[in-house]
Amino acid sequence: MRYVKLTEEKLYDFLEKLKEYGKLYAPVKISDKFYDRKEIENVEDIAFEYVRTIMPAKKFFVPPKEKMFDIDIENGEYKENVENVEPFVLFGMHACEIVALRILDAIYMDEFADIYYASRRKAGIIIGLSCLPDEHCFCNLRRTDFVDIGFDLFLHELPDGYLIRVGSPKGHKIVDENPSLFTQVTQKDIDAFREFEEKRQKMFRCYGSFDNIRYLLELTMNDEFWDEEADKCLGCGNCTMTCPTCRCYDVQDIPSIDGKEAIRIRFWDSCQFRSHGLVAGGHNFRPTKKDRFLNRYVCKNSYFYPLGTSYCVGCGNCTYFCPAGIDFLGNLLKVRSVGEAEVKNG
């Protein structure tokens, strides 16, 4: 891998430069507690301390709502609405988010490639950023706390700048075209990088193996504590909407008032909603709130073959953004049936 260093003084120059490669999106503080990725005009607005954004990065590739077709009803014609996406830069992507995008890639592009997704994905430049976990993060358990591929550049915080891993031809290009921004990585930087990684590793809420979780989950689905947890659930869908890998969508045709045209739109759906499992005739494959509640646990913990991970990347969004305060990791730990303290020591 190629490494370069970006010194603190050059940071804003670098960010400014990124704008030349496409519209720059980065996390900004949108309210007292929350962050979201927005288009950046002034690079000094960028929030580096953020842990998670209220809308996951999937919004750039599968927008919350998008028009797929313009439909001419009378002639039965469908005109696809695929935009010509201009290049854009996503700055500040954490490791788990990058893995999440790779999961979406596999879903959307491996088989029956989705042109809407693909055209955006092609245009997106991904700039990673190292982070420190909070109490909801468990990417270490999901083994998504460090990424090897899926980014163009990845910035690792150093006391006086950033150690950058260059991860793609686009990344090389950015480095090559701006030699004045970067310097060589020194031994001191390597030590600092190591220190940061060690400090970070010690900060997670718990440790150990999570590989057996899907079996344990399957075996404990009838445990009583699930009833209690499902009882707390509001069925609001915040967990799935803020999940970086949840991507269920619904499709609807909206006719115009004159009945001549319609648009076919798709928009984020959630398995926490009643109609998600409903089929014509009234049969519902997930009729109760508990069924729906558990469905997310089942789905997120299942094995995602193409990447050899689970669908869940351990970002903790679903817990952080759950208005009912339901602790996803906490519940999984219960499934593992080990007290948290023990896990920490283990």
Binding site: M68, F69, I71, D72, I73, N75, G76, E77, Y78, E80, V82, I107, Y108, E111, F112, A113, D114, I115, A118, I213, R214, Y215, L217, E218, M221, C246, R247, C248, Y249, D250, V251, Q252, D253, P255, G259, E261, A262, R266, D269, C271, S275, H276, G277, L278, V279, A280, G281, H283, F285, Y297, V298, C299, N301, S302, Y303
Partner: protein, 281 residues
Amino acid sequence: MDNVYALYKCRVLRTYELTDDVRLFLFRFENPEIAESWTFVPGQFVQLSIAGMGEVPISICSSPMRRGFFELCIKKAGRVTSKIFELKPGDIVGVRGPYGNGFPVDKFEGNDLLLIAAGIGMAPLRSVFTYALDNRWKFGNITVINSARFGKKLLFKKELEAMRDVAEAENIRIIQTVTRDPDWPGWVGRAQEHIRHANTKPEKSYVCVCGPPQIYTDVFNKLIEHGYDPRKIYVTLERRMKCGVGKCGHCIAGSSTFLKYICIDGPVFGYYDIISTPGLI
């Protein structure tokens, strides 16, 4: 890159009333090239789109041997299907597909074939059946058990009825049975109760089952009781679907150790998939 959600125009050629709420539609692709090249495996389905109304997944119920044409058998169930129901010859619809894995008909060759359908479940099985008829020499004995609650609800009743006598001579047995119809002159009872009347030899039979989820367990038990090989039992499953190609997430089913998309990993599943996966049926 092609848009997987793009639709081929198809024209309705003929409609035929099967029951009061199920109709059979014959379609042809408007584009002759596609009509020529388009093919499928029995058990696969298409996404059928009505402009301004939406799309629905529908199993193809005709035989793949008839190029350029295909039949869909549709039950009036909700918004889109009600609209489909009103289609008349000459109307245009959008179709994409075929999707799903379909039945492994190649593996079936040289064996007996037992098809067990309940209600609308006859639709995908009719495709297997007509395929087998078109390739009669490749298969051994065939039994079709077609069940419904009332005689007037039996799908393809006349079609099957008409061939019954000829069929026996060809080692094809047709059992049409109803559960709640005192006026029905034929077989009565649920589909599984007639497994014993099948002409298929359990040890060399493949079995396809399609119907509402509630019947599967009973049917399996009966099949095994009669000595059918669990490895040779297939079912087709149903879920809500919006895309048909593994994107929209609605048809994901199963449990954390075996999570499947009904649309791309199914809709046809084997017996062991089913019993080792809570939540699949």
